[in-house]
Assembly symmetry: C3
């Protein structure tokens, strides 16, 4: 199988190579174009950023995006993911981007010969999100080695948290986690958020699906923000060069105080910009058999 | 903020300039192209004409349209209009077209640096609809000054009526309104429809959401058509050069007798054609800082 | 009216000409491009293959596809098919592809001047599906004359079955039908499926909407497969060169054993590939007034 499925099988050297190419795309130093190629985005779960970011990456690479909407498709007739992907392969697209709720859905697709780009699978992986987070950190510090990062929020249910933690450790970052006990697991050493904001170079917030947890947590949104969210007060205690990242969509007033989203330390919208360049790099490297 | 939000802040001279450029695009006298640019259509209310007309305008200008569908997006996760627009800005599009049910939604978007084109906000404005109505009138008469126009139908709930009336008065047209008492307000002097068809150079029909009003009006569709709709009989009493316009979608058999839609005096489908050229003109002028 | 509506009015010579051009497109022998043209896909029924296949055909011909989604459109305001098609004509597209549940919907569209390509109407026709089936057969045998073909499954409710049978007979193929009595009509001579697999050069499976028939049939899916479905055992009794085709989406485990879909005799995914080239041929011939 060709494509990008999970970063756990991609070497650290290759990850640095992807980020390096993304940065060159961003600075306009490298230009490549694949006219005549087309790729389909097949999203079976909600997405704004990932879906349109991949489309923008295709457009910038001269690739025609074909946007498959599961509404109005033969999915309504019960067609499987496998048959849908095989159909797009038969139709002649040069690659597909897939988001699906099933962990490791791509393991069912091993007879597909065109590249598959994982746009998120179940609770497992979201490799281009991890790459854009890393690119944003690298752009800030020029290195990963020795940086302290804390993943904050619903670690247990986050594909971003698990994917990020694995790669960040490999890149020799010191990884911590913070959040309500109910949302933590053994991904990394636990810090309190107040310890984390003073100690870390990167605060990696995660989306909290508050409505799913509100009863168990026994608190309202404002209380959650005060205890576990990123407030301006906590921002004021961060180190000079430290930054805040978040995969978005953000829940203003829950895991992040609204004003923090666009404060000086936030890189949340910059991450979205970087995501387009990271996806350009991933697509380009796969098309040229370098990934 | 760059873009087009409401015509109430655009001078009459500038409006004429837009229409003039649109006519030159239509006649093929002016050709401009913006290769490498992309723009997103973000429609949070139903639309066929406006959404696809903007897409066609982009295509004709060499701009790649990115069509955001609120179905299957992170809106399902509660993302706000503001965060959605900021996301598309971060993804690198060169402009967005927005339709939203909130009056003046764009006033929340003042930190957005890319151009925003208003595709309709609440009950307030629909500036490109007004422009294409004006272009259609101008194409017919070569002037606005002194023309009699009657807005017919549900004036009170129509963003088109209010936007059109304001600009038409500024362009020295004589504006009247007609319709059931329940649907009228103080936008302009009231005429009976039978007076209007004999007096006016332009009959500007509006869409009537009959199902919302049927109870209060105490009449059925056929009775509405007979009393307040444009019938062939009324068409026969119009002045020689007079024309009928309508923003569409039309309700055949309610505010307009089906045969009238494509009669010799109707410009309803011509308006749709003109809409593409008006939107090309607006996009082009904004990109070149002339609007 | 220009376009392709039903093959029943297209001569056998013309059908061969379409297939021949499609094969030349597939082999890369013929290249044509229509830059600056755009076409809209207007699908009012679910579809994956037909909709995206037409889009791919447009892309390969340099035509910009405009994908109309009935979700979020003015259909929600009650706009008719006629007014929707007239709208896209007015917006300036150079053709429309329409799928609609109404038999012969295109007979209401005779005032439309741009080409209309029928992507399926009610229970009547699906001309490009028939063409891609024929292309796949022709690619295999180099002729139609004298070939035995059996349509298998729900003949009565299938637009593909009726369209295919009519044209196949005209091309001098010997047409048979097989399936449960409840699903057969007088389209052609009836065979048992076990006779058919041993006799025929082409087994043309049809999609069975099992849930609609399960009660009347008084059997479960496994029993249906055993009695009326294409199993590996039946495949083993087919003639050496014989092939299986299916319009898809397939119901694995109902009308076809899952393993059969990608067995050596199946041309199901090849059909999808051929569909793109057939649609390129149809669009190109219509644009050049050869169809």
């Amino acid at each position: 199988m060709k494509g990008l499925f999970t970063l756990s099988t991609v070497s650290s050297e290759k990850i640095i190579e992807i980020i390096d190419l993304a940065l060159r795309f961003k600075r306009g130093e490298t230009k490549v174009s694949y006219p005549g190629k087309s790729m389909a985005t097949l999203f079976f779960e909600n997405s704004t950023r990932t879906q349109y970011s991949f489309q923008m990456a295709m457009i910038k690479l001269g690739i025609t995006p074909v946007s498959f909407s599961s509404v109005g498709s033969s999915l309504a007739k019960g067609e499987s993911l496998y048959d849908t992907v095989k159909t797009f392969e038969a139709l002649g697209v040069d690659g597909v981007v897939v988001r699906h709720s099933k962990d490791g859905y791509y393991r069912d697709l091993d007879s597909v010969r065109i590249p598959i780009f994982n746009g998120g699978d179940g609770k497992s992986d979201h490799p281009t999100q991890t790459l854009l987070d890393l690119m944003t950190i690298y752009e800030e510090y020029g290195r990963f080695d020795g940086l302290d990062v804390c993943l904050v929020g619903d670690i247990k249910h986050s594909r971003v948290a698990h994917g990020n933690a694995e790669v960040m450790k490999r890149l020799k970052m010191n990884v911590y986690i913070a959040g309500p006990d109910e949302m933590l697991d053994d991904t990394a050493k636990v810090l309190s958020l107040d310890e984390a904001v003073e100690k870390c170079d990167v605060i990696n917030l995660l989306r909290v699906q508050f409505e799913r947890h509100s009863e168990k947590l026994d608190m309202n949104e404002a209380e959650y923000l005060k205890k576990y969210g990123m407030t301006l007060e906590r921002v004021s205690r961060m180190k000079d060069k430290a930054i805040i990242i978040h995969p978005a969509p953000i829940n203003r007033g829950i895991e992040i105080q609204s004003e923090v989203a666009e404060c000086e330390k936030s890189r949340i919208f910059k991450q979205m910009t970087n995501g387009v360049f990271v996806r350009m790099a991933v697509i380009s490297m796969v098309l040229e058999d370098k990934l």
